[in-house]
Subunit: 429 residues, 2 copies
């Protein structure tokens, strides 16, 4: 953990180093992924079967080896403990309601020149959703990706997920049932992403691929950007907590650790205006770490990437927050509204002392798939728009071409495009 | 040019070949681009100067070698012929009005559980716009990229453009003046895109990069996706004209050629329900090609990629159009509305006999930067949203945590994330 004070003589330099720290592995993943994509594109299901054997010790032979049926998902749901089933349903309902309000309106208007213009929004035909098999196999993630797709109107929603040694996670299957997933294929890794993008004998291709994954999955999505639509490149998770001294240090420590326990590369940052409070939080973090079941991961994250910054007053946090462009920001202060308005770059903001970030991970409603690694400078969380596309349209009414056509002719000639000019000129009176 | 009839025994196979035809070069561009990006990242302006000398015969030494000033843009505007100046202004005004209506509304509501949720849209701080130097140096393209950025509220809009042997295009500079571009740097190619993404000594980095370019520029943008935001990967342009026999074949021929003259890889496709009309259009294309100043390019495009498809009735065109997912579709029929509603995948649709696609290139208002290469299946045209991002927020009011918190605790435990659960449990009464 690094401690900084805004009045340190080398503060600017040390803070810049934290901002620029990538926390992402630069490796030769790209080359391996390129090979895997090519193999799946050329050899389809045969390549998938070979990779699944090699990476997941899972043999793809019979239909049951390939597919988890919607009946199996329903059975997993039915067998859940009632409180978990209720929790899944509450989460799903709240996520659905929030995302339904995101559905964009079509446009259709005619201006004074007689030019009708507008745009129609439509869902993509098919979407693919990557669901990790290991530590990061989160049912909440499935809901957060699948529900916006279904709300958008996607007819065919396909999940790919590795089942190492044949094992799958019942809670994930139950979530797939709740979200209305249409197909689940038991393949993972870059090869599964390739199958979704190119299609194979068994798996029909999709138009958009979303969902979290390891470095291979992320790189496969990056390389296939343009072949299909993909959501933003995702890196390790991060939280920035901005807190005054009137908080319970135990609560704030738990919030910092809730991020740290995700991933050894996750980052938790506290900005406070009180040195004593910072020390109290640090003590609470150490205490809580000692008994945490996820100690190993959380401790590695906190030790390597944790940061505490003491400022003179919290208004100084705005500039630091914009530089960090964090995935999550908690504003644990009595009056969070001015800070919310002042901070320009953040994935999602949690207001007040009673809004721990974890409620946003599960049940608040807004999407928990958010831009990481400073990408909130330019990217947004997942939404129904990621599963839709816009078709614009233009219709020239009586006399409209005579009003705007001559300008098009002038520009076309100036650009050296005579056929453009001619297509308008022929129609002018 | 290929002629198909929907009743040909091998129609499905031949049509599928047209749909799958990529028209894009698979070359070793990726490796060269990777090297260029690395050099610019490591050596900054020195690398830029070396590449500009090598690729553009342009020496970057004095400030004037590096920058085109806003004063030079204003001078270029002042020296334009009045009709061209008016045409630029008309285009800019119409584009601005259309895009202003795209500005998204913020959300802020509190539900029955006492959970306040919403989202704030904000512009990115800085956007970079690539403007090609050669054949494709279109002032209309500059307007179509720059105006949405400015409407979004981007404070710093940076153009990069190569000036081979020091030469620039006065009409492009005039368009930059009209659109309110803030900086113009005289660099091009993949190296210019790298400079925008990573920043150099002279050029501060940006958050989003858009704009057309050659294969190197497109590949650089693809590789930098995630480091910055980028618009969709762009390929060669295409038009699909759906026309009945009651059209003037001369007009339709001009429309097909207006696409073909863009690029030898561009594609023009006619679908009609009348064989005689198809033959007439073909004759008109040949006649117009003979005297076209852009004959070489248009002829190569039409010969290699042109397609004419005769169907029994135009309703059959819907399925074909969805498979082609064309950048532009003209519906040259008396009643275009049912076809507009039925076709699901298209970048932009031009309705009726009096709406040639070229008006959309310049003055109609909607954006002419549209998804190509079948990407209208999942992608949209450029809009103000490409220069904005959404920050969601959540605030739990009195008692809200008691209502939704227990479900979050249950899910967190089920996912094996005890610190998540604890951050909620500590705050529950």
């Amino acid at each position: 953990m690094r401690s900084l004070n805004i009045n340190d003589p080398d503060f600017a330099k040390r803070f810049r180093r934290i901002v620029d720290d990538r926390r992402e592995s630069d490796s030769d993943v790209a080359i391996q992924v390129r090979d895997i994509l090519r193999e799946v594109r050329q050899r389809g299901d045969k390549a998938l079967a070979e990779y699944s054997m090699r990476f997941d010790s899972h043999r793809l032979s019979t239909d049951e080896d390939w597919v988890i049926s919607t009946e199996q998902c329903r059975a997993a749901y039915d067998e859940l403990q009632p409180d978990l089933r209720d929790a899944l349903e509450l989460a799903a309902t709240r996520i659905r309601v929030y995302h339904e309000a995101q559905l964009p309106a079509d446009r259709d208007f005619t201006d004074d020149a007689g030019v009708r213009q507008g745009a129609l929004w439509r869902a993509v035909d098919a979407a693919g959703l990557y669901v990790p098999g290991g530590r990061a196999a989160y049912p909440s993630s499935l809901l957060m990706n699948a529900i916006p797709a279904k709300v958008a109107g996607v007819e065919r929603l396909v999940v790919v997920t590795p089942t190492p040694k044949g094992e799958s996670n019942p809670l994930v299957l139950a979530a797939a049932h709740v979200a209305g997933v249409d197909e689940i294929w038991r393949v993972g890794g870059a090869q599964a992403v390739a199958a979704l993008a190119y299609g194979t004998e068994r798996i029909r291709k999709v138009d958009v691929i979303t969902g979290p994954g390891n470095a291979y999955v992320a790189e496969a999505k990056r390389q296939l950007f343009g072949v299909v639509g993909i959501d933003m490149v995702a890196g390790p998770s991060e939280i920035l907590v901005i807190a005054d001294k009137d908080n319970n240090p135990e609560w704030i420590a738990a919030d910092l650790l809730s991020q740290a326990e995700h991933d050894p590369s996750a980052q938790s940052i506290l900005i406070t205006d009180d040195e004593t409070f910072a020390a109290q939080v640090e003590d609470c973090v150490d205490l809580q770490l000692a008994t945490l079941a996820t100690h190993k991961v959380a401790n590695e994250s906190w030790t390597s990437h944790g940061v505490m910054i003491v400022v003179d007053e919290l208004s100084q946090a705005v500039e630091l927050a914009d530089a960090l462009a964090a995935e999550h920001i908690e504003l644990a202060v009595a009056e969070p509204e001015p800070l919310l308005r002042a901070i320009r770059h953040a994935g999602s903001v949690f207001l007040g002392r009673m809004t721990p970030e974890a409620v946003g991970d599960y049940v608040a409603g807004p999407n928990h798939v958010l831009p990481t690694g400073r990408r909130a400078r330019f990217a947004s969380g997942l939404s129904v728009l990621d599963f839709m596309k816009r078709t614009s349209f233009i219709e020239l009414g009586d006399g409209a071409l005579d009003k705007i056509g001559p300008a098009a002719v002038a520009l076309a000639h100036a650009e050296g495009l005579p056929a453009h000019a001619k297509s308008v000129e022929l129609r002018l009176k």
